[in-house]
């Protein structure tokens, strides 16, 4: 546990990716099984615990810490595990840290009623760092600035392998990954995924730059719409099917509808996950109702029907097509689909064009629902894992912008803890609207953004919030409505969840308009005109 705690500390305080990789590689090389496997699980998919920590921890702490002080501390620190690790009373008799594997074994076998007692006893045996590591371990993804991908890359480096070799067997493995490490140590063969569906690292595109155009010949390229959903990979084999996100996370459980569409198939496909009603792509907001869920209700399945628009065919049966040129894979995809189309899918339409001028016309005129822009793919390109240069380009539509007024700010967490870094902004309700009482706020919130500004601008915004606070609600401050934020976003959609009746897609701060008077910000009518 101590080694793992030290690893988390060092990772948290290390910025350089290479140094993080070195720390991780050293840990996996020098830590024995099964501890290193449990650590790997904690840093990637999380450990298979579902402990009601959010309920238990405040209860345990309430014996020694006043609930109001706990709440203020939690607000300030921005992280429950860290807050508890700092507030937990130190034991006079000193520490007695258990091994990581022992902790996992304890919590795997504990009965529900004994969880609080076990947790309390284990916390007593650890110092601040150890307590933090324990709570992160039990709480799922530790979020210590290490992605699952980085952890896998570190293992590849530590044992001089390609990260793709690990990715391709990853989903056939289970913690504590004894067979993986045995292979890496050279004492066993590479684990065989056998009949289990596994993730193949995906091929990603570069945003197109002005300097790219002169290098490109339109006859070498195919164009497709860039759909506004999430990129997914469907892997079906031996009666089993998995739906993976772009980063290789298994999201199948939230999409039983898609899973059943692939029963009995044997293939790996690349596509865009969307919500589609009557052949029309629904706003991204609808798809969000289906994401990040462990289970899905019948109502959600009915109201937010999932659909996959297919881009590419990677494996057909056992036939690996990834070395083939895109043009050839596309032909295979069309043939595969014509032969036996899977329900809830269709093929991504190809956009014919004569030259870039004609394509540009199409690009600038299309604002159909669900389209983010165009994709350009080199017809001769194989399917290459990662983001290879010179093969695929994404040509996103220019974002829309609005001048909004900062209304509320909330403290961030993690790297931004204690800074007011999440901003809710609004636009003016039109003066013509009669329903306003005297003194009533004439701003209505239209969105929330927490990106698009530099660290320096964050400090300036934080200072503005502190100096212009008019009211406080826990971690949220209301501010005097006088700062204009130019907000960029991809689209505006109707939404019943927001008071204004609209929701923005991908809002981010484009510019801070310190210079602009708030009364010159945009109105709700302007926003609705963008619908």
């Amino acid at each position: 546990m101590q080694r793992f705690a030290r690893l988390l500390d060092n990772l948290a305080y290390t910025q350089s990716r290479n140094r993080k990789l070195a720390l991780l590689a050293h840990y996996f090389q020098t830590t024995p099984d099964p501890d290193r496997g449990w650590a790997l699980a904690a840093l990637t998919d999380g450990l298979p615990f579902s402990l009601p920590l959010r309920r238990i921890l405040p209860e345990l702490l309430s014996a020694t810490v006043d609930p109001q002080l706990y709440r203020l501390s939690r607000d300030y620190v921005g992280d429950t595990a860290e807050t508890v690790s700092l507030l937990w009373p130190e034991q006079v008799r000193g520490y007695d840290p258990p091994a990581l594997a022992a902790v996992v074994a304890d919590f795997e076998t504990v009965s529900r009623n004994d969880i609080p007692k076990l947790l309390s006893n284990t916390l007593d045996r650890l110092d601040i760092s150890g307590r933090f590591a324990l709570l992160k371990l039990l709480g799922g993804a530790p979020r210590v600035g290490v992605s699952a991908r980085l952890a896998k890359t570190a293992i590849a480096q530590a044992f001089t392998r390609e990260v793709g070799e690990i990715e391709e067997v990853w989903h056939a493995l289970d913690p504590p990954y004894l067979d993986l490490f045995a292979w890496l140590d050279g004492t066993a063969d590479r684990p065989d995924p056998g009949g289990r569906p596994v993730f193949r690292p995906m091929m990603l595109a570069h945003p197109i730059e002005d300097s790219d155009w002169p290098q490109l010949d339109p006859t070498d390229l195919a164009a497709e719409w860039k759909w506004d959903g999430i990129r997914v990979q469907i892997a079906a084999v031996g009666g089993d099917m998995r739906l993976f996100s772009r980063t290789g996370d298994d999201i199948s459980r939230a999409f039983p509808d898609i899973a059943s569409a692939f029963t009995g198939r044997h293939c790996v496909l690349d596509g865009e996950l969307l919500v589609v009603r009557d052949e029309e792509v629904a706003p991204f907001n609808d798809l969000q109702q289906r994401l990040n869920r462990k289970t899905v209700s019948a109502r959600q399945l009915r109201e937010f029907p999932a659909h996959v628009r297919l881009y590419d065919l990677l494996l057909e049966g056992d036939d690996d097509l990834r070395e083939l040129p895109f043009e050839e894979r596309r032909r295979r995809l069309e043939a595969w689909y014509a032969n036996a189309p899977a329900p809830l899918t269709d093929l991504s339409e190809q956009v014919p064009f004569a030259d870039f001028h004609a394509l540009s016309e199409i690009w600038s005129k299309t604002r159909a629902s669900g389209i983010e822009g165009l994709m350009l793919k080199r017809k001769s390109s194989p399917y290459i894992a990662g983001r290879p240069k010179g093969h695929w380009w994404k040509w996103k539509r220019a974002p829309l912008t609005l001048d909004c007024v900062l209304m509320y700010a909330q403290r961030g967490s993690g790297k931004r803890s204690s800074y007011y870094s999440d901003y809710t902004f609004g636009v003016w309700v039109d003066d013509s609207s009669a329903a306003l009482e005297p003194g009533e706020v004439r701003l209505v919130p239209v969105g929330k953004a927490y990106s698009g500004f530099t660290d320096e601008e964050l400090r300036e915004l934080d200072r503005f919030v502190r100096n212009n606070t008019t009211d406080r609600f826990g971690p949220v401050r209301a501010v005097e409505p006088k700062l204009v934020l130019e907000v960029a976003f991809d689209a505006v959609q109707l939404s019943s969840r927001h008071k204004s009746g609209i929701a923005m897609r991908f809002p981010r701060i484009a510019r801070i308009r310190w210079d602009k008077p708030a009364n010159e910000a945009d109105t709700l009518a302007t926003v609705k005109a963008l619908l």
């Binding site: 910025q15 203020l72 501390s73 300030y76 620190v77 992280d79 860290e82 803890s417 800074y419």
Partner: protein, 350 residues
């Protein structure tokens, strides 16, 4: 910005608030005609210590310890106040008939608590203070009182500073373990800088310590006051810095320089930051700090609570920092407490 404290119902107010109360300029003693640590120029100011949010330039008359007055003159020039009056720790002075006494606060060199007595009520205004040992200043002196006016910079139970000597040893260890890197220690220029140097010397670090230009004058002043700093040198022009090899060396600089291009000239810089804020991971990560040292010149949560208890004060006024938590805690302890909401204090400094 103008903020005034929300007045409590008169019945709940302490009688002393008729003659000692917050005004937009700061805490004001009406019969004495003076402010304590005012945030803008006033006729008469009593200054607890030399940090910029407490000691400002442009007052008509300043009453402070000799060290605080020297610090103000170094920072703002000899003419930064109309006149200066030096007080010694422990001596009683009368300001317009109000009895005033300065005693050590243990915060930085020259720092003082100000004790005002009137009509049988003794008020202690702590300024900023700490209870932990500090080789560069007089230790905090506990004065029993009726009203204690306290800071609240670290007034949340998560704030427990580490023993400062242990943190200094950690830094020395890191420097020796990574002889190919330059260690950059971010510190506030007044107090923390000199305390860290003294702690590092106690930890057996005898190499020359290289100082950013902004830290030099005040460090020299500490030396003139007889506080040994060991060998220190100034990092001069950019060219000189590039020529020299600082691998395996310790460079100290203001926190702002850590993130600045200035720090990139050194060999594979490793950033350290000595501050009570380093207790919170997010705060260290915000600054890109690799080695957070939890050393503070302010009282941590247990010290605040213990100090308030020891003064025996039945009434506590909280100036700047996390007032809400401390006021709540004191309420639980049966001590009457309120936030003064004074304007202009840097509640994030340390």
């Amino acid at each position: 910005m103008q903020t005034s404290s929300r007045p409590l119902p008169l019945g709940k107010r302490h009688p002393a608030e008729r003659w000692l109360y917050p005004r937009p300029e700061g805490l004001f003693c009406e019969p004495g005609g003076f402010f304590i640590d005012p945030n803008k120029p006033v006729d008469k100011a009593l200054i607890t210590h030399g940090h910029a949010d407490h000691a400002r330039s442009g007052h008509g008359a300043v009453l402070a310890t000799a060290e605080t007055i020297s610090i103000m003159k170094i920072r703002y020039g000899d003419g930064c106040a109309g006149m200066f009056q030096t007080v010694r720790y422990g001596e009683t002075n009368s300001v317009n008939g109000v009895s005033v006494r300065f005693v050590p606060a243990g915060h930085i060199l020259g720092s003082a608590q100000i004790i005002i007595e009137r009509a049988g009520t003794r008020v202690v205004i702590s300024g900023d203070y700490k209870r932990a040992a500090d080789p560069t200043c007089e230790p905090f002196e506990l004065v029993p009182c009726d009203i204690f006016v306290t800071e609240a910079t670290f007034a949340l139970p998560v704030f427990r500073h580490e023993p400062a000597d242990r943190e200094a040893h950690r830094l020395v260890g890191a420097i020796r373990q990574q002889p190919d890197r330059t260690h950059m220690l971010g510190v506030y220029g007044l107090g923390k800088c000199q305390r860290m140097i003294a702690l590092l010397r106690q930890a057996g670090f005898d190499q020359t310590i290289h100082l950013h230009g902004a830290l030099v004058q005040l460090t020299e002043f500490y030396q003139q006051c007889g506080i040994p700093m060991g060998p220190v040198s100034t990092i001069e022009t950019e060219k000189a810095a590039r020529r020299r090899d600082y691998a395996g060396q310790l460079v100290m600089c203001p926190p702002s320089a850590l993130a600045d291009r200035w720090s990139r000239r050194f060999a594979d810089p490793a950033t350290a930051f000595a501050s009570g804020w380093m207790r919170v991971r997010g705060r260290a990560r915000q600054r890109g700090v690799e080695l957070p040292l939890i050393v503070s010149d302010h009282a941590d949560w247990p010290e605040l609570i213990e100090t308030i208890e020891q003064t025996g004060a039945q009434e506590v006024w909280v100036t700047h920092g996390r007032e809400d938590a401390l006021v709540h805690q004191l309420g639980l302890m049966g001590i009457s407490a309120r936030a003064l909401t004074l304007v202009g204090f840097e509640d994030e400094g340390d």
